[in-house]
């Protein structure tokens, strides 16, 4: 028996173990989506290129200015954040559900990793993919539009918080999911409509008053507008309100996800 083993029997614990567990989980997650970059990183780059060719060059040229910007410039923040939202969500929902499906989530359950570290690890993995894809989409956008970031710190804050929020959403979806259909329902029927109707391609000032009010019930609208304010300096929504809303959602979903992990919902008998 090694001294390490005796230490374990005595309940000994090396300092920094939580940090090591967290970084292990993050490295594992980053390696996972990096290995399958053709499925994870490449598609958003192609989709964004198509959006710019169709909406930016062909249609956008006839639309003219929106909120004082050319249409191509106007849609850049929305396209970036749309990719960040979709990929942050997709990463946690697919990774955590696969872990449940292949039962390797048990590697974490039997080990002394606290639930909040599991939560933080998976969410950070989702944020990492969201940000990598966000950077790729930004790179593609620079080929088509002339972008200058008006408020860099706010831009960074909004993109990171939004990514955290949707990574949490993906995790909760995966916790409840029982089959592969369950992990595609929310992205297809909730996330995509909310994102497309969240002002990626238009300013809500173009809508009739009734639909403007309806749009205000869409939380994604706040995120896209706060991000647009960060990059272009224009927004349909007060960025402070948007930030508070995102933070509020993060607290609620974060608390819920942690409670579900503590209860072992979907992962323990």
């Amino acid at each position: 028996m090694t001294p390490d083993t005796r230490d374990v029997q005595a309940g000994g614990r090396v300092r920094g173990t939580n940090w090591i567990a967290f970084s292990t989980l993050v490295i594992k997650e980053v390696l996972r989506f990096s290995r399958i970059w053709v499925q994870t990183v490449l598609p958003p780059a192609i989709t964004t290129t198509l959006y710019f060719i169709i909406f930016g060059n062909l249609i956008g040229a006839r639309i003219g200015e929106m909120d004082g910007y050319g249409y191509k410039e106007f849609i850049v923040p929305g396209l970036i954040l749309m990719a960040v939202i979709a990929n942050s969500y997709a990463n946690t929902v697919s990774s955590f559900f696969q872990a449940k499906y292949q039962r390797h989530i048990e590697e974490l359950i039997i080990s002394p990793v606290p639930n909040w570290i599991i939560l933080a690890g998976y969410v950070t993995g989702g944020v990492a993919r969201g940000l990598v894809v966000g950077l790729v989409v930004t790179g593609v956008s620079l080929f088509f539009a002339d972008i200058r970031i008006e408020h860099p710190l706010l831009t960074l804050l909004v993109v990171v918080l939004t990514s955290i929020l949707f990574a949490l959403g993906g995790l909760i979806n995966a916790i409840f999911a029982r089959n592969f259909d369950d992990i595609s329902v929310i992205p297809t029927f909730v996330l995509t409509p909310l994102t497309y109707l969240g002002g990626v391609f238009y300013s809500i000032s173009l809508l009739p008053p009734f639909w403007q009010q309806v749009s205000l019930a869409n939380p994604v609208l706040y995120m896209i507008n706060a991000f647009r304010y960060g990059i272009l300096g224009v927004s349909d929504i007060d960025p402070a309100v948007a930030l508070l809303l995102i933070l509020g959602f993060i607290l609620v979903l974060g608390g819920l996800a942690l409670w579900l992990l503590y209860r072992g919902v979907g992962i323990k008998n």
């Binding site: 309940g11 090396v14 567990a21 292990t24 290995r35 590697e107 002394p112």
Partner: protein
């Protein structure tokens, strides 16, 4: 002697109302090689699941090396290495990464974990396959990978849930040797298996769970000594049409080349062979008709079923 595992009044009622464990008490001493046996659905996997924190207990107390599962689950988890019944690693991950990551979950820094992973993978003959995806390994190698993963944080208690199920005899024997080696080095082992010969050969203590209760718990030696009868099958050199009278033990003729001998507690093989010699019956080979533990196990299960009926 330190107690590795102590279960007191452990109960588990699943959400569908099934009472898998009906208040079991069990003690495993540190350094022991302990067999936990029982028919399918008896509650073995539930008990192991609770020990490993995969299943929530309904009531009762679990202590591992003095750490209470309710008060200090993290300390309990640090003491245990689990080799589950079914493959539960990421099939797409390379072998080495699976082991290194597991070490990381136990707080072992990546640099140190890499060295430890190398050691366990070399010991289990997996080093040359370290870069391949786990899904490409054969069934036997996948089992070894799960053992390597469970060992990487050097737990004082290893729980092996049917580790040799479905592996060929060569790998099974190498796994037996490996389990004996780590047990000799001080690791307490709890083994569940359906191969009762395996339990009889490897384990020093035994508990039989049946219908959610401990039906038997003792040392292997004490339990085997309580067996009253042993049956052997003898292959005869020449065909025998009819059994001669006056055999010192209970004999039966299966076919003209196969004789079954049942020996009671006070009867010896010398008596049997002396008599066979006198009758001019030559024996080519002999084997146990049934493993002794298997015989005991079947008797227990049969008795319980009769009582239930």
């Amino acid at each position: 002697m330190t107690t590795a595992v102590r279960l007191e009044g452990l109960r588990k009622i699943y959400a569908n109302g099934t009472e898998a464990l009906k208040g079991i008490d069990l003690k495993v001493e540190a350094g022991d090689f302990f067999a936990l046996l029982g028919p399918n659905g008896a509650g073995k996997s539930t008990a192991i699941g609770i020990l490993a924190s995969l299943v929530r207990k309904s009531s009762g107390r679990v202590e591992v090396f003095g750490h209470d599962l309710d008060r200090d689950p993290q300390a309990v988890k640090r003491c245990i290495g689990l080799v589950p019944q079914e493959f539960n690693f990421n099939q797409w991950e390379p072998v080495e990464e699976i082991v290194i990551n597991q070490a990381g979950y136990y707080g072992i820094p990546r640099r140190v974990a890499t060295g430890k992973a190398r050691k366990v993978l070399q010991t289990l003959d997996l080093w040359s396959r370290r870069r391949v995806q786990a899904r490409s390994l054969s069934g036997g190698l996948k089992r070894r990978l799960m053992i390597a993963r469970a060992l990487v944080h050097e737990p004082p208690l290893m729980i092996l849930d049917e580790p040799t199920a479905g592996v060929d005899i060569e790998i099974r024997r190498s796994m037996w040797a490996f389990m004996q080696e780590i047990n000799r080095a001080g690791t307490t082992i709890i083994l569940t298996t359906h191969y009762l010969e395996e339990a009889e050969n490897l384990c020093r203590s035994i508990a039989i769970i049946d219908d959610g209760r401990i039906a038997e718990s003792s040392t292997m030696r004490a339990l085997l000594q309580r067996l009253h009868r042993q049956a052997f099958l003898l292959t005869l050199k020449k065909p025998l049409e009819r059994l001669p009278e006056g055999a010192p033990v209970e004999l039966g003729l299966h076919d003209e080349h196969t004789l079954e001998a049942v020996l009671g507690q006070d009867q010896t093989l010398n008596q049997l062979f002396g008599w066979l010699d006198r009758q001019g019956i030559e024996v080519l080979s002999m084997r146990n008709k049934q493993n002794r533990l298997e015989q005991f196990f079947m008797d227990r299960v049969q008795k319980r079923r009769e009582a239930a009926a």
